[in-house]
Symmetry: C2
Subunit: 211 residues, 2 copies
DNA sequence: CAGTAGTCTTACTCGCGAGTAGGTACCAGG
DNA sequence: CCTGGTACCTACTCGCGAGTAAGACTACTG
């Protein structure tokens, strides 16, 4: 991963990108505390003072990583989802987009999910923000469905459970990469839409290919 | 939380308990890296060398905490679940036991879920062990249900999703402590057993009080 | 070609925290 | 009252990592 070519004297914007990429990589592998600024500057192929000059302190750098990756991910999902469709189709497209993103951005996902959630610092804010947006999205989807959950609290907690199920399944997926994204997404779709009760009886939810 | 009475010259077994309790408390609040041995010994009301004499290095201490709390939790669930019952009732009792434990042992839960899962060290083993046991438990429950998921992989991933949903909902619950454990458990039960599809149509799952 | 702005480096300081050396108090049993 | 053992302490060493001082090298601009 180490940058080799020693390409010298690059413009600031480019360097910042390189540094951010390196930081996400290192943070995802080691976690916030265990990651050292020396390691990050090393992976980025620059010296430490550059790092401080461009991205500030370690905490600032981490927060910036979170923000960037969270934005990337929410955009990926927003792009993938299809509004003005039946609730089940909306959920389905959202899940596909989510698992698609995780599959192609494992490091981003690890920084977001594992690292950010544990460090109680100013980062939790960024992360909680994104998670809240995701939960609200799902909660809105549930509420808009006819006789769905009554109270706001109920919808929110169900949405939290669903988001958590997605996160956890994504985590599991990291250990079983042989499965394609679509299959994993479909599985979760079936779980949350049909429920075990129906699955036990052999009733499954079909993707919109039949439409 | 600081131990005041300066009760002196206690037998080793008692001190070890105190130290473990203090360690779980500190680890849960600060995480593995940010927690210092000085802080732990301070909270436990003893000096650092005692800590090292009794519980070994920081890593050993942390691993011991994980093991103890994981065991406590799995025992709580095993005690709460009712085998030889219909699958839905088994799941229901398991969920109740789980949320009951988390509600009364927030610190234990945080150490287990947030801290242990992120530190890639030798702890992950302990934690993964427990999680695997939990997932296997659920997977077995699913497989034993008649026409349930075909492949082993499918059952496992669904179980992982369910366990994750539980973890996530427990996390959400920490921010909404006003809700009683039973309500939260019932909500998850409805989600995973009935699915949104049924919930949207107003079909809910009833706890076994009707039996 | 001097000046100025921006890129980039080596070589430090300094505090924090893991782990330890070397003791002191207290309680057995002889 | 001595002898050993166990509980317990103060006061260190020492490395690692965050953050910085001070300057060098390049490139554009007049």
């Amino acid at each position: 991963m180490r940058t080799e070519g020693r390409a010298k004297r690059l413009p600031r914007a480019v360097r910042e990108r390189q540094i951010m990429d390196a930081a996400v990589d290192v943070f995802s592998r080691l976690g916030f505390h265990a990651a050292s600024m020396d390691e990050i500057s090393d992976v980025a192929g620059i010296s430490k003072p550059m790092l401080y000059a461009y991205l500030g302190s370690k905490e600032e750098l981490f927060a910036t990583c979170i923000r960037r990756e969270a934005t990337r991910m929410m955009e990926a999902i927003a792009t993938g989802v299809e509004p003005d469709q039946e609730p089940d189709v909306q959920l389905w497209s959202g899940l596909r987009a989510f698992f698609g993103f995780v599959g192609e951005n494992r490091a981003s996902w690890m920084v977001l999910h594992r690292q950010a959630s544990t460090q109680g610092g100013p980062f939790a804010v960024e992360l909680t923000d994104m998670r809240t947006r995701a939960v609200s999205l799902v909660a809105a989807l549930l509420t808009q469905s006819t006789k769905a959950p009554a109270t706001k609290l109920e919808a929110e907690s169900l949405a939290a459970a669903l988001v958590g199920a997605g996160e956890s399944l994504a985590e599991w997926w990291l250990d079983h990469p042989e499965e394609p994204a679509g299959v994993v997404a479909a599985r979760l779709m079936n779980l949350v839409w049909m429920g075990f009760g129906d699955l036990v009886d052999g009733n499954v939810w079909h993707p919109p290919s039949r439409r």
